[in-house]
Symmetry: C2
Subunit: 569 residues, 2 copies
């Protein structure tokens, strides 16, 4: 009832044999939201298409528009955001084309009064006449600074809205979330993304892996993300692996060839010998430890002698897991291999990591094996930013966190409120008013700069009218609060960075795209330019985003003129 459009209930799959995804359309539409790895242009809100028709019908095909994509508030109660998703946006522009089956669908969906020539027009649309300016992917960004500025034919620029928002919103949110985890965890701890099973759908999981890596994680459990993006993938075994072994009878292979000599050695016998030998050091009783767990560890060590990492909490970490792990690690050592470490997936992670470290130190002393004290301890049970802060306070001894649900769903704030606003049409500025001052948009085609101080820290972002001269190093620049007249400051920058680069012109990507590793480094470098008080978790200082004197006056004049008569604004 909201719309002129109603759909035929066509293409519904029914029955067990026919499970192609779109029986009407050709193979081109068989990838749901993606076609050849790129988002399809039909992944948009219907109102973009109805607006396109209304514009077309009213002869606005040649109108030229400028839209800004930006957000109004940093996520997670923080004071910074990492911009990400740009490469996906550019791929989307590159492949933007309605297919014949798209057009057929739209024709069947829109009212019959829509003129047939409109569909020919849609069919011919490409992003060739679009200009896209953007902040560099991986940069730290702030409210109201345009992340993208999209210029071109009104209809086309409008049609891009929903998809660009979809591609930037979650990517930026995810990268920001990951960067926050990295900051609380510190540099010396390894962070792994383990969230695929709880992510919001298949691509939700894939995006989470990609952008958490960009934001500061070291790897993922997601194999496809490894394959597609070259991200390091990690993983060993689950509780089900451990409980699938009941006793030593389940061990089909009990020997392992020595790494150097290739002599076959009995890893079961060795493990049992060490288990008896170290039980009292570990504070456990050999006969009480789980035999199935030991069998599982041995079988895994036989499969991955150079990669023995054991999940130690299936039965009882202190009575069974630690002892069985150390026994197998010592047996492996006799066979020429060095174990990696343990994973703890439940219980008091601070306490258990300290207990493990203590045991590892005892073994180091007892057998004079320095590497044993340095074995890796991975923790992975429902971890979020707050857990890490608390574990830090308790002096945990964890080397690596595996983080799932809270990271990949961005539990604390599952959406970044990016918007896409018309700021200029046919060289005339446009302003969107709102009773909430914060929601009034800054009109006009704009440039944005970041001004740096002598110590290398970013001081302030400055938004100007596009025609204004760029701010210059060493010159005094008046920076004004965009809304509050009394708030203003003079800044003398030691360095000026232009935030927008032209990425798309004449139907081509015109700026070299960084690799995923370069984007990851950009995040690190960009965050390093922020003062610590802006990045801190508790009550961070807001970073200032200002407008030039000229833009301020232009903006506020227009605001006054646009307000309905008699309205106090």
């Amino acid at each position: 009832m909201d719309s002129p459009a109603t759909t035929k209930k066509s293409g519904l799959r029914n029955g067990s044999e026919e499970i192609t995804c779109d029986s009407q359309a050709g193979p081109d539409s068989c990838c749901l939201s993606l076609k050849n790895g790129v988002v399809q242009p039909l992944l948009t809100d219907l109102y973009q298409i109805t607006m396109a028709y209304a514009y077309w019908k009213n002869g606005k095909m040649k109108d030229h528009a400028v839209f800004d994509l930006f957000f109004r508030r940093n996520p997670f109660h923080g004071e910074f955001t990492i911009f990400a998703g740009l490469e996906e946006c550019l791929k989307f522009l590159d492949k933007f084309r309605y297919t014949d089956s798209d057009i057929e669908y739209l024709r069947s969906t829109m009212p019959t009064s829509v003129e047939p020539e409109f569909f020919d027009f849609l069919k011919s649309l490409t992003a060739n006449d679009i200009l896209l300016y953007a902040v560099e992917e991986g940069s730290v960004v702030f409210p109201r600074v345009p992340l993208l500025r999209v210029e071109g034919p009104l209809i086309m620029v409008q049609l891009l809205e929903t998809t660009l928002l979809n591609l930037v919103n979650f990517a930026s949110l995810m990268a920001t979330n990951a960067a926050r985890y990295r900051m609380v965890a510190g540099k010396s701890v390894s962070l792994l993304e383990f969230g695929l099973r709880r992510a919001q759908g298949p691509d939700g999981g894939l995006s989470a892996s990609k952008y958490s890596y960009i934001g500061g994680f070291d790897g993922t459990s997601n194999v496809l993300a490894g394959k597609l993006y070259g991200i390091p993938v990690k993983g060993t075994h689950a509780h089900s692996y451990i409980i699938s072994y009941d006793s030593f009878d389940d061990l089909h292979t009990k020997t392992l060839a020595h790494k150097i000599t290739r002599e076959e050695m009995n890893i079961l016998t060795l493990s049992c010998k060490y288990r008896d030998q170290i039980a009292s050091d570990v504070g456990a009783i050999a006969s009480e430890a789980s035999e199935g767990e030991l069998a599982a560890f041995i079988s895994y060590a036989v499969a991955f002698p150079d990669g023995f990492m054991a999940l130690v909490d299936t039965y009882d970490v202190k009575r069974s897991g630690f002892l069985n792990f150390c026994a197998v690690a010592l047996a492996l050592h006799d066979i020429g291999y060095t174990a990696i470490g343990i994973r703890i997936d439940s219980g008091d992670l601070a306490y258990l990591s300290q207990a493990a470290r203590e045991i590892f130190s005892k073994i180091t002393k007892k057998f004079d094996l320095p590497w044993f004290a340095k074995l890796t301890i991975v923790a992975s049970n429902d971890i979020n930013e707050e857990t890490i802060v608390s574990l830090n306070e308790q002096n945990h001894r964890i080397d690596c966190f595996g983080i799932g649900t809270n990271l990949v769903t961005c539990q604390k704030q599952p959406a970044l409120g990016c918007v896409y606003k018309l700021v200029e049409i046919n060289n005339q500025p446009r302003i969107k008013l709102s009773q909430e001052v914060e929601k009034v948009t800054i009109p006009d085609r704009k440039a944005a700069y970041r001004l740096y101080g002598a110590d290398g820290h970013a001081l302030i972002d400055l938004i100007q009218r596009f025609e204004e001269d760029a701010p210059e190093v060493g010159q005094k620049i008046l920076c004004r609060h965009p809304f509050e007249e009394a708030k203003r400051a003079y800044v003398i920058p030691s360095k000026v960075e232009s935030l927008h680069k032209l990425y798309w012109k004449n139907g081509k990507i015109v700026h070299e795209l960084p690799s995923i590793l370069e984007i990851k480094n950009r995040v690190k470098e960009s965050l390093a330019t922020l003062r610590p008080d802006i990045k801190r978790k508790l009550n961070p200082t807001p970073y200032k985003v200002s407008v030039s004197e000229s833009l301020y006056n232009y903006f506020h004049d227009l605001w006054l003129r646009s307000a309905p008569i008699g309205e106090l604004v």
Copy 2:
């Protein structure tokens, strides 16, 4: 450091020209997480593959396993969940095959010590030997009842874990969320999903559209969801459309042909005439209303004369939007068309909807147009369950809610904690212990039944050992709490429903799959069998899930035997 596996940093895209998604691999890998509309088997955690190798290496290729997929707690502080995602799981099984490029990637990722024959083994894997039992998609389900029971070769059943969880988790969460919105909104209100721009990535958006429709929504703004699933799509225009018009000069077309007579009539003149005529009824002043807004409305009405729905809050709802809308609606009426209504996207929605309804009634009386009082009012500003409850209390006059962020990200709880647990191997039961009793899994291959009372309401779910006879209508059945010995009840069911059906056998879907509309109806019917106190928003009554006497004893014996010696369980 968590893993034996490290990856080559290959396949990174760099430069502006080369933007295929996986330059190493053939076109088969070009759809990111999806291949021919189906999730790829590599969308999994690496540990599934490392476990597969360790199982293989230890000769466990023929081990036969049973896994249950279930959740432990209903989401959103509620007491029910809607099960969804089954069709996607079956499509995944149907297409399960590692491609050559998958195998190449795994070979390059896993340690060189992995025996080459393992990759041949992986290459030959299919889901042909798997049995999949499931609850019917769209059913209301409860904690601990297996949603899926997957049986077959241990390695293969284990390999399915992450992907099945990914496919069920978000689908079920989303359908449940939508069903909750439907319940608070009531049956007479229309609900539209508007969340694509804030969803967690492209597929996050697509899944949100599909499963919110299944859960009880009436349509979506997502065009691709309309095309792929046959969901009704809705939408009109955005604020940018309104502000792209500045004055009547922007109107290229000022006439519209009468619906019946085809006589060209001047809609601008008519609209201006009505605007003057009704301004005082609307409580506005014609000269103060926005001319740009009126121009935008007229242009939209010309494009969609049968589908005129206007966004009225761009400038000022009461001083401008209402008046301009009514003027154009009356003009359209003279030209033979009936307007649809208005959308309000900001402000006090209860108050504004009442104000709009009052104005519509006045117009009805003034011009004797009964339909005017019944025009549709759509509201769409950051709406969640609580907003709707509050609007209900304020006697809103809204006919339709457009709901975005809070719906599609499941803001209140962005993940359903589904798990996938080994419960039997080679006909031996398996139990996963935990210090949290709630996390102990119920072992054994199990059947599940729903027992109904004489009034048609569901009384209790009963989980049994698979070998036990099904409960019978009219027979007294002892139902026991799975963990608490003292909690037990006798139930005499008037109807018994077996919850699990066999969906997959011999590599084929063996149970007819319902259409999306049938699943949607299943949700409605299934929810109708729940007592209202279980469904209510505030302090709902938990629905009981029980185990049979035989399963209780079997389970608790095993639990006792599995506990480490000396441990109090």
